[in-house]
């Protein structure tokens, strides 16, 4: 079991109101990702759940039990830190065994659990090494191993992949997702990377300045963002925002169209633009265009399209995929 409930949780550091008030329900077995730009309070929120920071107001419930004032170790949660926070003078085996040793478990039982965790994480050959002798990905796995042996009711991940290179990040993303399917334990994952959020989450919580902007499944957020912030944050490359006459003609303050929802052609279309930069990724090409009467627009097209700097390109927005936002930046539905 591992459901977490936040009730009007707030956090104040001196004068700064980092988190004004947050209500959130995390269900048992869910993979929840907190995503937002740096300084949005996502890490603070995770640390509040972990108990590493005291809440300034509100309640935190785990499995219906009030743990607002419980010590971190009493909450039955395990955390994986950004720097891995492995104990440098202990071998991998001792690192993984540490929480069990602190729980005064019997040595034979500890050995069994450590071996089992090492098998799951492919660390069996490295048990006697020190953390300094391991690669980044292996250290990451040791940190996860130290978390899983405790059999916590939920895992907390604080930007665990940000110290890894791009290729390894992709692999570890898969491994963590895979682990979630194996263990079926609640996981709360903090990241600033919307790709990680989209690929791993059951439920994404988009945070901005300590407030929840929107909660929903990855595709929910992609298809119907509640406001300009979410629309701009989710999806890569970013959604194009168009103000002025075009938006007014669609009875909105701002119109939003994703780069992938622009139909491109070399000879006819609604808009006409000049290619400023073309990023050829192979399968896809991202075109950064200057469109007459609209401004800068990013478009995504097939890798075979063949447009280069200085070319003239025509594009037609898919009106059914158009997002409209009012004066307050909220989405207009229907």
């Amino acid at each position: 079991m591992g459901s977490i409930t936040l009730r009007q949780v707030s956090k104040v550091f001196g004068e700064a109101k980092v988190i004004p008030s947050i209500d959130l329900e995390i269900n048992d077995g869910e993979f929840v990702v907190f995503v937002g730009p740096s300084g949005c309070g996502k890490s603070t929120l995770l640390r509040l759940i972990a108990g590493l920071e005291d809440v300034s107001g509100g309640q935190i419930l785990i499995d219906g039990k009030d743990v607002t004032h419980a010590a971190p170790a009493e909450r039955g949660l395990a955390m994986v830190f950004q720097s891995y926070a492995l104990y440098p003078h202990m071998s991998v085996r001792k690192n993984i065994a540490f929480p069990l040793k602190m729980a005064k478990m019997e040595q034979s039982a500890i050995d069994k659990k450590v071996e089992a965790a090492a098998r799951v994480l492919n660390l069996t050959d490295y048990l006697e090494r020190r953390p300094s002798q391991l690669s980044g990905g292996q250290r990451q796995r040791v940190a996860i191993g130290r978390a899983i042996v405790r059999e916590p009711s939920a895992f907390l991940f604080d930007e665990p992949l940000s110290n890894l290179d791009a290729a390894l990040r992709g692999t570890m993303r898969l491994e963590i997702s895979d682990l979630h399917h194996q263990l079926k334990t609640t996981m709360v994952y903090v990241t600033h990377d919307q790709v990680e959020a989209m690929t791993m989450a059951d439920k994404i919580v988009v945070l901005n300045r300590g407030n929840i902007e929107q909660v929903g499944s990855p595709l929910d957020l992609y298809k119907s963002p509640r406001n300009l912030f979410v629309a701009g944050f989710i999806g890569s490359p970013k959604m194009n925002f168009i103000d002025g006459a075009y938006a007014q003609s669609r009875s909105a303050r701002t119109a939003g169209i994703r780069p992938e929802h622009l139909g491109l052609s070399k000879d006819s279309g609604t808009w006409r633009g000049t290619v400023k930069v073309a990023e050829h990724l192979g399968a896809d090409t991202f075109l950064h265009l200057d469109v007459d009467g609209i401004g800068p627009i990013t478009a995504r097209c097939d890798g075979e399209f063949g447009a280069y700097h200085g070319d003239t390109v025509y594009m037609t927005p898919d009106e059914s995929k158009l997002h409209r936002f009012d004066d307050k930046g909220l989405a207009i539905r229907g």
């Binding site: 972990a50 590493l52 010590a71 971190p72 170790a73 949660l77 395990a78 955390m79 830190f81 950004q82 720097s83 926070a85 492995l86 104990y87 440098p88 003078h89 202990m90 540490f98 929480p99 602190m102 729980a103 130290r146 405790r150």
Partner: protein, 290 residues
Amino acid sequence: MATQNTKTLARLMMAPSVLLLLVWMIVPLAMTLWFSFQNYNLLNPANVSFTGFFNYEYFYTDPAFFQSIWNTLVIVGGVLLITVVGGIAIALLLDQPIFGQGIVRILVISPFFVMPPVAALIWKNMIMHPGYGVLADIAKFFGLRPVDWFAQYPLFSIVVIVAWQWLPFATLILLTALQSLDGEQKEAAEMDGANFFNRFIYLVLPHLARAITVVILIQTIFLLGVYAEILVTTNGGPGYASTNLAFLIYRTALLGYDVGGASAGGIIAVVLANIVAFFLMRAVGKNLDR
């Protein structure tokens, strides 16, 4: 130091200082060694002759010899124990966020800036004096008889004074080491259910191992030669109760005018220092290579 050229240049540039250091070390050592085999007394400087190992025999058979070696080791060991344990404790306290942290830190460091004879005199006359010392006043307040520290516990008093002087050094080194401990590691240990005591044993202490080693090695170098504190307080007494090897050599050389005997004592001190260094490096040296 990539190319042959820069290597040669570097050696050439370093040569003068290496040479100077070598001469600086070799000349006094050679002279001491030379004098230690001479019958050379300042009361009769004209009559200098070769005596073989007589000086060594004379120094060795001095009734104060073994006691002075023992006293040297007690001073080194006692001061190290107090400064390392006390230094860790004070460093742990100073690492906490407190009001007036800067001033408190300066106050803690300040004993290190007081020169040894001054510190010893203050301890002798203002703190440990049986008549008007602070400790005597405290004893009287509780209706006890004041302790005459330098008469009753001479060696212990010396250890306390020297430890007081070296405590700031140990604290400073250990505090900087403590501050370099990764905050996330502490938090991880907290999440893992380690209480303060366990965090200290399994996380803080291993992290401090290298700093503790540095403190022990550097302090040992200086503590083997403690001298000024003894001179101004007990003058090595009562009897030889607070005479260490350095003080015994001073006595032989400048009170007995026996240059030959003192030189032999000096060589013995060098040998003793090397024995201590050998065991010390075996005991704690492995903490240095990581």
